[in-house]
């Protein structure tokens, strides 16, 4: 099984310096010189920046002038520049799949300081690519039509923005929201920083627009259950949960809610600070306007009695018999805007939330200061009447802490400043303390807002709070909550007695984000946030074609950033719809029918059911449109008659031989005496100089 390269292979190899990114660690000139001596290699060069237009010109002119039939570029990760160089090949008239990339930056020069070992590894990677490319065959990308409808998951400000952008551009959108109303977290807020505009005033018109838009199908109180297909052709199955309200008949008059005799603590919209009825709309401006019966708490469902809502409903819209509805539809693209969960402050017991009555979370405080909230906007202690004379606001609760979340939640500093302002505004005599590690105020008008709070007389104490306790030590502490902290600017431990403590809880990924990412077959990082295609250059696309992300589902961010990302995702989707078709990588499996034994092992292995068995001919066949190119069937075929385009056995076997050039017993390499010195000292600081 010695894989002889095809006769006509004339290979050009280009070793990139990437400035000093590669050249500093890998002896690029030596690699180019050495590979020039290898079989089938006609041209071998090293060059400062291969991805530059001059670098690409080099490839193009060599193809034309030297009659190259295959190209290898040793540079960065193919995820960075494979497309770039394929383009160069194509412009020179070479099929773009006659190209292979060797990753000697991310996988080599950046991963070690040892020049000798890095150079040796670079040679191995380049030789692997050279041997592989010799077996490449011309391939054509597969065109796929794009269905112009789009699914948007999540009806917070991110999803609302995406849906409206697309709908206003004339495209149809299915907006799926889990809760009874759209609006998301933004609907819970009172004021928004730093301009202090009223959150509801700017959000509710957009919610209404969504509810009335002819291009938007709003599926609230619904969840996506199944996602099938691929870019251009997704089939979506949604469960529309029973509201027990006939939407045709309901006018949204609210009488049912008024008459319902039972109330429960509202842990969602009111963040646990207030109550709601069992038949309820989360808030008066809810979109859609229809209420929902909370089956778990409803007296009728629990004991078969009551029916107060049904008795009083003027339009007979209450329907206890209603069942969940399963809806299926087709879309071409998907935008996930599923938002965030607030960090559960009870996980840090030393801050006392759940034990000490007057410790509140930030979301509780948002509801408290909201004029439509449980206290009508009055700032009071848990007893509902006493106004606090002193308030402590603790930053970084659950954020910037390896025990919980290592990342900075980005919005807490600013909303904590906003809270301080609101306390000053409503309780002018109250003392306000902000306990912070660093004040992070990067944004338009943000730093200025911080200065405004300094002016308003907020006490800023730099130190992460150690604990909040009711254990008084000194006379002044009796009956108070004591915030114990190191004032790091003084270098002394301080104990500040206050009446009220607000915990500025961080943002975390939705508790079920992992399941959601699996449902949509896309990536989720360690913290549970969805992974973008590129952190800088492609922040709304994902690794999965046709699936985009927006808002806090991707990572903590404030409203302006969320809106920008929602609109960006819409623009990306609109671009694809406008294009009508996309080209897909032709990495697909193919069964050589004449050799197929009909054992059917591959049939059950395929996760996409893309392999059908023809009873008449007793052979299996891959449906190209369904195949995603994973290659599992290729590896499993006992007769070895399934080939995976661009990942054939010959290609991989040759690559194995190549990467082992120096240790092969049959190969041209001598037994190596590689001295790899584990570098220890002088660990480099990461530098930001990616091209």
């Amino acid at each position: 099984m010695n894989h002889k390269p095809m006769e006509e292979a004339r290979i050009g190899v280009y070793v990139c310096h990437c400035g000093t990114n590669i050249a500093k660690t890998v002896d690029v000139a030596e690699v180019a010189r050495w590979v020039g001596e290898q079989e089938n290699v006609v041209v071998a060069r090293d060059y400062k920046f291969m991805c530059s237009s001059l670098g690409q010109d080099l490839i193009e002119s060599d193809i034309k002038e030297r009659g190259l039939t295959r190209i290898v570029v040793a540079a960065c990760s193919p995820h960075m520049h494979e497309k770039t160089f394929r383009g160069a090949c194509q412009r020179a008239g070479l099929n773009p799949y006659m190209f292979e990339m060797a990753n000697i930056r991310e996988h080599d020069s950046w991963a070690t300081d040892d020049r000798a070992a890095a150079t040796q590894k670079a040679k191995a990677l380049v030789e692997g690519a050279v041997r592989r490319v010799a077996h490449h065959t011309p391939l054509e990308p597969l065109p796929v039509e794009i269905n112009p409808n789009t699914l948007v998951v999540g009806g917070g400000i991110a999803g609302i923005t995406t849906a409206l952008e697309l709908a206003n551009a004339g495209y149809h959108v299915y907006l799926v929201e889990r809760e009874p109303s759209i609006g998301g977290h933004m609907a819970q807020l009172d004021k928004t920083f730093p301009t202090l505009d009223c959150s509801a005033c700017i959000l509710t018109p957009k919610m209404v627009e969504v509810g009335q838009h002819p291009n938007i199908t709003l599926l609230s109180y619904s969840e996506v259950e199944k996602v099938e297909g691929y870019i251009g052709n997704f089939t979506i199955t949604v469960r529309k949960k029973a509201r027990y309200i006939n939407e045709e008949l309901c006018t949204g008059c609210g009488i049912c809610e008024e008459k319902c005799p039972k109330r429960v603590v509202d842990h969602v919209f009111e963040a646990g600070l207030g109550y709601r009825k069992v038949v309820y709309r989360p808030f008066p401006q809810a979109v859609p306007k229809y209420p929902v019966i909370d089956r778990e708490n409803c007296t009728y469902f629990l004991r078969g009695k009551c029916r107060a809502c049904q008795i009083f409903c003027p339009t007979k819209a209450i329907d206890f018999e209603q069942e969940d509805e399963i809806i299926t539809f087709q879309v071409g693209n998907i935008v996930l805007a599923t938002g965030y969960d607030l960090f559960d402050a009870r996980r840090i017991p030393q801050y006392g939330y759940g034990r000490l009555a007057n410790v509140f979370t930030s979301m509780e405080f948002e509801r408290m200061v909201n004029a439509a909230g449980p206290t009508g906007g009055k700032i009071v202690l848990r007893d509902g009447v006493t106004e606090p004379k002193s308030v402590a606001i603790i930053h970084c609760v659950g954020s910037r802490d390896k025990n919980y979340h290592e990342y900075c939640s980005k919005v807490c500093c600013m909303y904590s400043l906003k809270f301080a302002h609101l306390v000053h505004e409503r309780l002018p005599d109250a003392e306000v303390y902000n306990f912070y590690i660093d004040i992070r105020a990067p944004g338009k008008g943000y730093e200025e807002f911080y200065h405004r709070l300094l002016h308003e007389g907020t006490h800023f104490i730099r130190g992460r709070v150690a604990e909040v306790t009711d254990a008084a030590r000194q006379p002044g502490e009796e009956g108070k909550l004591i915030v114990q902290v190191e004032d790091t600017l003084i270098g002394k431990q301080r104990r500040i007695p206050v009446d009220m403590v607000i915990l500025s809880a961080g943002l975390e990924a939705r508790h079920d984000s992992r399941e959601v990412s699996q449902l949509f077959k896309m990536g989720c990082d360690f913290d549970g946030f969805f992974v973008e295609r590129h952190p800088k250059l492609d922040p709304v696309a994902t690794m999965t074609e046709g699936i985009f992300i927006a808002g806090c589902a991707q990572g903590p961010k404030d409203i302006p950033d969320t809106v920008a990302q929602g609109a960006a995702a819409a623009a990306r989707v609109a671009g694809l719809i406008h294009l009508g078709t996309v080209m897909m990588e032709p990495v697909r499996a193919y069964i050589h029918e004449e050799l197929c034994s009909g054992c059917r092992i591959c049939n059950t292995l395929c996760p996409y059911n893309a392999i059908v068995f023809h009873e008449d001919r007793q052979v299996s066949e891959v449906i190209t449109a369904l195949c995603q190119g994973c290659g599992t069937c290729v590896a499993a075929c006992p007769s070895g008659v399934i080939s995976g385009a661009h990942f054939t056995n010959e290609q991989i076997m040759s690559q194995i031989e190549g990467v082992l050039w120096d240790v092969r017993r049959n190969g041209n390499g001598k037994q190596p005496t590689v001295n790899i010195q584990q570098s220890t000292a002088n660990v480099q600081q990461p530098t930001v100089n990616e091209p």
Partner: protein
Amino acid sequence: MTESFEPVIVGFLCNWCSYRAADLAGTARIHYAPNMRPIRVMCSGRVDPQFVLKALREGADGVMIAGCHPGECHYVNGNIKTLRRYHLLKRMLKQLGVEEERVQLVWASASEGKQLAEAVDRMTEQLRALGPLRWPERVLGEDGRGANGHEAFVSAIEPREEVAA
């Protein structure tokens, strides 16, 4: 600088998770042993046991197969199939007298650059301790016909023309 044995590891990295984990390790400038030479496959499920045997036969001292975590496969469950194959392969290699540590299956998501780098470091350490594989001597025996009385077995996985070469 010490004159010590440096193992060569062939790494089969899945395009969606582990390959990107290795990219991330580089981007984050996490330094780790340069002994692993990665080969990209679309899914760890594409790793044919033949590839592993080929690599060991061609002089690698170990093979690392790296894929997405179970339940996070880009292709639904390709990695589960890898896992099953891996266990069968391990059993076979054990019979041939190849130490367990030489073929390892690792899960690394795209965000786990550090974990992947640590896995490479760990495996490199283990193989340094084990020493070179020396497939011909160990598996084929002096006469190239199988060292442990596995002639038939060996001939099945070891194509004849190669043995002769």
